[in-house]
């Protein structure tokens, strides 16, 4: 996601939306695991940003939209996600040997779907957005210690998947990575 120093014309919401959309969609996709949900989330967050553009633009619109997305996702999940998401739960755990044979990215996607949404949000904010723990804590309205423990638990849940790959496999991921 474009960082807060990434530039862009802060005066125009249209420019901001066009400039930040790809990264917001990617963030939403990783956060929710669903392209449709990601699009909904980005749309609603950008709309809210538009309605409060003066305030958001004066500060950090990317951070504002990101915060709205995370909070909306967690709220939505609390309301009805637990029921809806039953279909997303992978059939096997991340440490299931069968998953190691499948594509790493797909395995991660499935493993992330098993994590509690808050834990997943912490991982995404920490390892995709590279936000420091205090910023994540402020965004999620919890303490940095909670962020660290959530990240540790999430990482532990994914560890079998992340350490099982051979150097060759890990390098192979670059074909899709940055």
């Amino acid at each position: 996601m474009p960082g807060t120093d990434a530039g862009g014309d802060r005066g125009s919401f249209a420019d901001f939306a066009a400039w930040s959309l790809p990264a917001l969609l990617r963030f939403g996709h990783v956060l929710t695991g669903s392209p449709q949900e990601a699009e909904d989330l980005v749309q609603e967050a950008l709309a809210r940003c538009l309605r409060r553009w003066q305030r958001a633009a004066a500060d950090d619109p990317v951070a504002y939209v990101r915060r709205v997305m995370v909070n909306a996702h967690l709220t939505r999940w609390r309301r009805w996600g637990a029921r809806i998401r039953l279909g997303d739960v992978p059939e096997a755990a991340a440490d299931d040997p069968r998953l190691r044979r499948s594509d790493d990215w797909d395995a991660l996607r499935r493993a992330l779907a098993r994590l509690p949404p808050r834990q997943r949000a912490v991982l995404v904010l920490r390892y995709l957005e590279d936000l420091p723990d205090p910023s994540i804590a402020a965004l999620l309205d919890c303490s940095p210690g909670t962020v660290r423990s959530q990240a540790a638990r999430g990482l532990a849940a994914l560890r079998p998947l992340l350490t099982a790959t051979t150097p060759h496999q890990a390098g192979g991921g670059d074909g899709h990575g940055r």
């Binding site: 249209a14 790809p22 990482l155």
Partner: protein, 264 residues
Amino acid sequence: MADENQAENRLRQLLRDDRWSLPPWADTQARVRNAAHRQRMTAAAAGAAAAAAITAAIVIPLALTGAAPSKAPAVTSPTSAANHPATPHRRYTLPPVGAPGFPAAIYPGPRRPHPVPNPLGHCPAPAGLQPFTAGNATTARALIPKLRRSFREDLRLTDRAFWPTILIGWQQPPRQGPAPGLTQRERLRQARGGHRPILYAGPLESYHQSEGPPDFTRAISAGCGTRLARDTWMVVDGPRTSPALQSEWLFLTRRGHVLLYYNQ
């Protein structure tokens, strides 16, 4: 520790995989604008419901205790234009039906809309509605810049169906500075007090929004009746290059008086 770093790096790598990317939208502005419309409608409906509840809480005890409506706190006078909505501690109240200056024939009580998705919290009463004329169209356009000068003037220029929104608007602090998202030229024009360009002025039923929903004609027909939709005059203004900042104004004519009944 090395394992920890390896796992973290691998996670970073996988989270940055291009397969998480989604194709950007071709219609970003329209999508966001429509979503903002929906959000505003929801907020306005909630606000109108709250205002109605507050009004009921004030009016019903007054009625029960026999207090005359005309003794309700006076609204701002037309000379109080300098008293912008920002005026702290000011209390605005809506005059009851038939109050002096607001004859019931021109300002009848609003109706409840049908329970369908509808941008209007209340429907204008159908009594006295007339088809729009060319002369009224000019009046409608001239009405827009007269708004937000005084509370009472706003009430005079609008239908009762819109009064809850007016009330909320005057109870909230004003927005400072230029509207967001304007081009430099538009900002300058706004700073000089210039008007917003009119993008459409015509019958509601003839307006074809180029960027999808909301379909006002259908929504208003379903919520408040086809007659209102048929007799509505619509004006759309704002920066052509920023659809998200454009406004829709809906007008009716009742017994020769042009009244705004919806704005977004």
